[in-house]
Assembly symmetry: C2
Homo-oligomer: 347 residues x 2
């Protein structure tokens, strides 16, 4: 390896004259000091008034799985953020009240605790701020919150669980959203083959996956890390990636509806890529069925005639390079721990 | 106790003249030899061609929880037979395709392996025979079975799981329903306080619960065991219990639609009572919200003017007696084991 490296260095000047892109042989196959920036904190930060405790997470888990939080009593948070599908729902876009097809894909809950940008358009700033949204939406759980809190307050099991989790506090929007947020902060992916490799286990990733990581981060190749950067694979920003759905008659303008800047038209938040292999299909419009399709989109470039800001330059990767990046994304899955259902109070 | 018993015997003739019902003092508070008939076999019987194996149950569990077995891809068997609600759904009557309200309550899967009467009207004779029904029903999972099997056959994880569970057999209606049935046979309630008491643990039930059991079985009191008899609390028969819904304009005739005998008009199968405290609301029409409501129905008697066969004589129990029977039904719950979700193949 180091011999090869020397040879490459000697040829470096010459190579630089005819090729601006790095070759696979130049990539370090062992983690560098700089690579450590991809390591994720063991637990997500929690607000001072909602530190994650076992009691809060346990209560939040009950609420998260309880379909009685919806008016039809057949949708829970877990219906769309389903642990069976990487805490998403396996659908192109979500299905809400009476199976109504909604406009955007259900985002995963995985590692949502590590970001302050909630929802595809970032209109919520914390998990606490987000938690009641789907319950209140008439297109989703369509719940009357007053009757929900009346019911929770009257239920002995929930009453006791709230008292343990938030002693002296009321059972209301504040504590209900806090408990759900506390549970969501326990849904964490930070022990994937990639993490193990970063921590020094050289065998944790295959050589194809390591090469995929380098291509992923290489500005002259995948350039994925331009947006999917840092421990949680997101820049915390919003981008129009030139999906076909943005070229349609009444396109989803995304972040622009929240912040009307021309550059934000059709822009959506950069989602985490951790556990990404578990939550197909992909993109906010669910238009990519597989990670290969995701790579195909970026490789051919995205463009809509009506809005040039949506143009995304083609990557022009070889099939082999795109495949390596997909293989790398497969190395971002933390081996799933068995998910145990909570015990809910009977009717 | 024996002193009291002697006193009661001495007064017996006299008492018999003015009261035909036994008093609580006469009930044995310890299990008798005859009581052993209530003990349930440890595992349900399985057909010779579908012995319950771990591989079959594991495959069945995947299928049972997979919403991709429905056309909308958002309903699984577990949506209506939800472990969170005693393997029912907590609703008066089931909600199917696009939340369509169906005519009957979702029956529990608990101990369904011990009976040959499946469905409220008994139109299916085995779990294997029943399993595909909801998938095919356009009001429920509304699934095209051809596309389901094509998908299962093409999915590497399912393909491997079927090969392990049913080596050499096709992935089709037969093996799919067999696997689901094999999983359902693992959903068993046979270790409740009542079972422990029957096996000799005198403290397993409270004295109120024991008294409730005696009242439950006493032909002159609750007389519940006339129908809810034997280890699984069912006579395997069908009865019209005089619910108000049968008095409506177009009543659900139940078993009569399958077997047109006058005595079966509005008759539904006697459900198990094991784990009954977990699966409110009650009756095939979901009209009783609580077990107290169930007792209230039988206590006042059921009657519809249009069909005298639906008359059920009032029990005329005291509030105390009815309460004891409800307490006994609470002793039929096997402490829930944590339910672990299966790992499903990603999309």
């Amino acid at each position: 390896m180091s011999l090869l490296r020397t040879a490459v260095s000697l040829a470096g000047l010459c190579l630089a004259l005819w090729a601006s892109t790095a070759t696979a042989a130049e990539y370090s196959m062992t983690p560098t000091k700089d690579d450590q920036k991809w390591l994720l904190a063991k637990t997500p930060p929690a607000p001072a008034d909602n530190k994650t405790t076992p009691e809060r997470a346990a209560l939040g888990k009950m609420l998260f799985f309880d379909p009685r939080l919806s008016s039809e009593r057949n949708l829970s948070c877990a219906s769309c953020h389903n642990p069976l599908f990487g805490w998403s729902d396996g659908l192109p876009t979500a299905k809400g009240f009476k199976s109504k097809v909604l406009g955007r894909a259900s985002p995963t809950v995985v590692n949502a605790g590590y970001t302050t940008i909630q929802m595809w358009d970032g209109r919520r700033a914390s998990l606490e701020d987000q938690a009641m949204g789907p319950m209140e939406s008439m297109d989703e759980m369509a719940m009357n919150l007053d009757s929900l809190f009346t019911w929770l307050q009257a239920n002995p099991t929930y009453k006791a669980s709230f008292a343990k989790a938030y002693p002296g506090e009321a059972i209301d929007k504040t504590t209900t959203s806090k408990a759900i947020a506390a549970f969501e902060r326990t849904i964490v992916s930070n022990d994937s083959p990639f993490d193990k490799w970063l921590r020094g286990d050289k065998k944790a990733m295959t050589s194809e996956q390591i090469r995929g990581f380098r291509l992923f981060a290489d500005p002259a190749k995948g350039n994925c890390a331009a947006c999917h950067q840092g421990p949680n694979f997101t820049d915390g920003g919003f981008h129009n990636i030139g999906l076909a759905s943005y070229g349609q008659a009444n396109p989803d303008v995304g972040r622009f509806a929240i912040k009307p800047l021309a550059s934000l038209k059709g822009a959506f938040k950069t989602p985490t890529l951790r556990d990404i292999a578990l939550s197909a299909p992909y993109f906010h419009d669910g238009s990519a069925a597989t990670l290969d399709d995701v790579m195909a989109h970026y490789n051919k470039g995205g463009a809509t005639k009506t809005d040039l800001s949506s143009n995304v330059k083609p990557l022009n990767l070889s099939a082999d390079e795109a495949g390596a990046i997909v293989a790398f994304m497969g190395a971002l899955t933390t081996p799933p721990k068995p998910i145990t259902l909570p015990t809910l109070p009977p009717n």
